[in-house]
């Protein structure tokens, strides 16, 4: 009697054929999954920003003063750092979007998906480091004073 059932097949000795899901599979918990999560988060955040941004720009139709005063918010040092975050999110979303297109349309895309993710991470850093310098230049000067 095996497995508590009289008629159950005798599976003794077949243990090595039983595939158990390891903690991380090819996708779950690995680069593929986290890039998917990051694509959703960066996309949703950018969508909410776009809603605010179209409406704040619409103030050019109200009066030059009201537009200039809402744009002054963007020049505030704290908001300037948030803008850097927005640029970083959009740039990741764009680069990872190209990777997704390559996975979908390029025959070898799925095979190189992991390598492509690390490639776009490097490209992201190469663009963001000088980008952060130029975007925060004025904010640094405002906070720490011109050297």
């Amino acid at each position: 009697m095996v497995n508590g059932h009289e008629n159950a097949p005798d599976l003794r000795g077949y243990d090595r054929f039983v595939v158990t899901a390891p903690a991380g599979t090819l996708y779950r918990g690995r680069e593929g999954m986290w890039s998917w999560v990051a694509q959703r988060i960066t996309g949703a955040l950018t969508f909410f920003f776009l809603f605010a941004h179209v409406l704040d720009t619409a103030l050019v139709r109200v009066s030059p003063d009201s537009y200039d005063s809402v744009i002054a918010t963007y020049k505030n040092p704290f908001v300037n750092v948030l803008e850097l975050g927005l640029v970083g999110a959009v740039l990741f979303h764009a680069l990872n979007g190209l990777r997704i297109i390559a996975i979908d349309f390029w025959s070898r895309g799925p095979r190189y998906q992991q390598m492509m993710l690390w490639t776009i991470v490097v490209v992201w850093l190469v663009v963001m480091v000088p980008g952060a310098y130029f975007m925060l230049e004025h904010t640094f000067a405002a906070i720490f004073g011109q050297a």
Binding site: R40, L55, R61, E83, V87, V90, H138
Partner: protein, 138 residues
Amino acid sequence: MTASVPDIKAPRSQRRFGSSGRSNFELCSWLFMRMSGVVLIVLVLGHLLIMNVLDGGVQRINFAFVAGRWASPFWQVWDLLMLWLAQLHGANGLRIIINDYAERDATRMWLKTALYLSAVLVLFTGTLVIFTFDPNLT
């Protein structure tokens, strides 16, 4: 002697969703995300570069700066195309997120109603502003 025979479909017959049959809406949505995404890479990254990085970045932006740019049809078309593609791309992305996470039918319906209303508001306002911009406004 008649026995009721259960209606068994032929193997590999097409699955039908609802009474209206299949639609390729989701295929179009999938393709639209990729095609609009490629165009948006140029439009949005160009916009971010001009507005935030080049020539003093955000510090130089004011009403006069906008008036100078929208004097050119090139930037009007750029901004109009970017507005429509970004809003449709983003709204479609949020539609997919809502479908994935909102499990109750009523919740999904209300969230998507709010989403579509906000998309119409943004597209209408943005388009109106680009077409009716007045550089001499005081």
